[in-house]
């Protein structure tokens, strides 16, 4: 592989693979050592005990009886560590004996191309393995952990790899950490099982190519989830082993994106000066992915952060939720205290994704609040009413006679004209 086509760097004093490829072994060694420590702290080491420990790799979980390869935790270049440097790489287990492993090829454990082979693995192989790298003046170690399960205790959840596919298209499953066991690429045939059922060539849904570690699912659907097993026969010294890997496959539904539609805010929001106010902007994005959908507020076409440096008006936490299987995003506009100038500001909520944009303006209006005018008005009315009643009573008491006089006058007048009418009046 031409590493110069893909360049890598990590944080801090990291190694650049590109640089390593070009530099000589000594510098490479220096780089390896300096991955975790500054150059000043590196001291020449003579024994393994005083080696610089550069961290551990995650645990490998295997089942007894299977061949195991612990790859060297030091970076390899063209399958050779320190291609131009004399170095010594050794493995030992971190137990009381600290015996060197793989020194002879006759046992169950041996070293091949700096990797440690354990064939077959047994329960007592569980433990921490330390890989030591040294030259005349420097020494570094890294550790790898191995857990070997009893066959009867190797529950799928402990040993399976997690893989995820998305519906409505093709997708690859991979038989992981198996490449080292491929002896002849052209003849390699990995068998795949789904929930213990062999996936053979007659099954049009799956394509398994000879020599490949992949299983292609042509059109991924939700019912493709489950446990898959891949199996590779491996022959060593006339003994046939099966390398088995378990994969737990999750299927995700592909989400469809639509043009955003803003549902709230209402165009006019009533509030009172000095009070706190929250105006939610809620947008509908269909059934789709929300990964590239944006929702934000502006004040007079400027981002809020630029207008309200102290945060008197700001955006609240973005919420994403589903209602009746439909996706919504909500971003509230929060006023710590509404001021008069807010009444003349254009607050606009904008929703945007790669399919389109929509904006909606919210106008803040002052609601009639408590004032003396408003408080006094009903009191005045009540007062006037009482006055009215009082006057009315006074009028009723005193003008009794006057009224009688008037009445009699009218009666008198009527009497002279028409009796039926007079009766009606009485």
């Amino acid at each position: 592989m031409d590493l110069s086509k893909c360049r890598f760097l990590g944080t801090g004093p990291q190694i650049s693979v590109f640089c390593l490829q070009k530099l000589l072994g000594f510098f490479f060694f220096f780089c390896v050592l300096s991955e975790n420590v500054s150059a000043n702290s590196i001291q020449p080491k003579k024994s393994t005990e005083n080696c610089l420990h550069l961290g551990k790799h995650f645990k490998r979980f295997m089942v007894e009886g299977e061949p195991v390869i612990l790859n060297t935790p030091f970076p390899k270049l063209h399958n050779k560590i320190f291609f131009s440097l004399h170095y010594n790489l050794s493995w030992h287990k971190n137990d009381s004996d600290k015996t060197l492993l793989g020194t002879s090829k006759s046992g169950r454990i041996w070293m091949d191309n700096d990797d440690l082979w354990i064939l077959p693995a047994s329960l007592e192989d569980t433990g921490t393995y330390i890989c030591t790298l040294r030259n005349a003046s420097y020494c570094a170690t890294r550790s790898v952990e191995l857990k070997v399960f009893k066959k009867s205790e190797a529950s799928l959840q402990y040993i399976s790899y997690r893989q995820v596919l998305v519906t409505s298209g093709p997708g690859y499953l991979v038989c992981p950490e198996i490449k080292n066991f491929i002896q002849d690429r052209n003849k390699t045939e990995i068998k795949w099982y789904k929930d213990s059922v062999l996936l053979d060539q007659s099954n049009k849904k799956f394509s398994i190519l000879k020599g490949s570690i992949y299983c292609l699912i042509n059109n991924v659907s939700l019912d493709d989830s489950g446990y898959y097993t891949c199996e590779l026969p491996f022959v060593y010294k006339g003994v046939k082993y099966n390398i088995t890997r378990h994969v737990k496959v999750h299927i995700m539904k592909k989400k469809e994106e639509t043009i955003p539609v803003i549902i709230t805010p209402n165009k006019t929001v009533l509030t009172s000066l000095g009070s706190k106010l929250v105006i939610p902007c809620k947008a509908f994005f269909g059934l789709g992915s929300r990964s590239t959908t944006l929702l934000w507020w502006t004040a007079n076409n400027t981002f809020l952060d630029n207008v309200y440096k102290k945060g008197r008006v700001k955006e609240g936490q973005r919420l994403e939720y589903s209602e009746n299987n439909k996706s919504y995003i909500e971003v509230p506009l929060i006023f710590n205290s509404v001021e008069k100038k807010d009444l003349n500001t254009e607050f606009i909520c904008t929703a945007k994704n790669r399919l389109g944009t929509q904006s909606l303006q919210a106008r803040v209006k002052e609601e009639l609040t408590f004032s003396w005018g408003i408080a006094v008005a009903p009191l005045s009315l009540i007062f006037l009413l009482f006055i009215g009643i009082w006057i009315h009573r006074r009028w009723k008491q005193r003008p009794e006679k006057v009224y009688t006089t008037r009445k009699s006058m009218i009666i008198g007048h009527d009497c002279q004209t028409s009796t039926p009418y007079r009766k009606e009046m009485i």
Binding site: M1, K5, F8, L9, I159, Q163, S291
Partner: protein, 148 residues
């Protein structure tokens, strides 16, 4: 704008998951309880196609750094929310996210033509690539959450 940081799961089309190994972001197959080591991506969209990417709750951000004709991926200790506020500083942290079917690719805005990549071989560093070579993977699944 307020904080619009969202967390995503990322894995390449050959099922390799991101994790940290000795302060380096690498991609490999995670088994059993190791799946807890998965590094999720914190993302802020600054435009529908432009995103800032970080890990560890947005405290380590992915940046493109150019040396001569070569671009490198670097993790920098900077808060993704601060980058969102300071657009002048955020260019090398900006990636153009392109969706193609179920997968996405991430091209560095500061290093045009260089895409976020993994290698076919497991447990190798995540980096940047400017080629479409077979053994370099630039297509990723990028999903908000797992629906199991």
């Amino acid at each position: 704008m307020g904080s619009r940081k969202q967390t995503y799961r990322i894995w390449d089309v050959y099922q390799k998951i991101f994790y940290m190994r000795n302060k380096e972001l690498v991609a490999g197959y995670l088994q059993g309880q190791n799946t807890n080591l998965e590094e999720k991506i914190d993302m802020i969209s600054i435009e529908p196609h432009s995103v800032l990417l970080g890990i560890r709750d947005g405290t380590l951000c992915l940046a493109c750094v150019k040396t001569g004709n070569t671009a490198h991926l670097r993790l920098e200790e900077v808060d993704i929310t601060d980058l969102d506020k300071d657009r002048n500083r955020s260019k090398r942290f900006t990636f153009i996210k392109t969706e193609n079917g179920s997968t996405s690719s991430f091209e560095s805005a500061a290093c045009p033509g260089w895409f976020l990549c993994t290698q076919m071989e497991a447990d190798r560093p995540v980096g940047l690539s400017n080629t479409q070579e077979e053994n370099v993977i630039t297509r990723f699944y990028f999903q908000r959450e797992l629906q199991e």
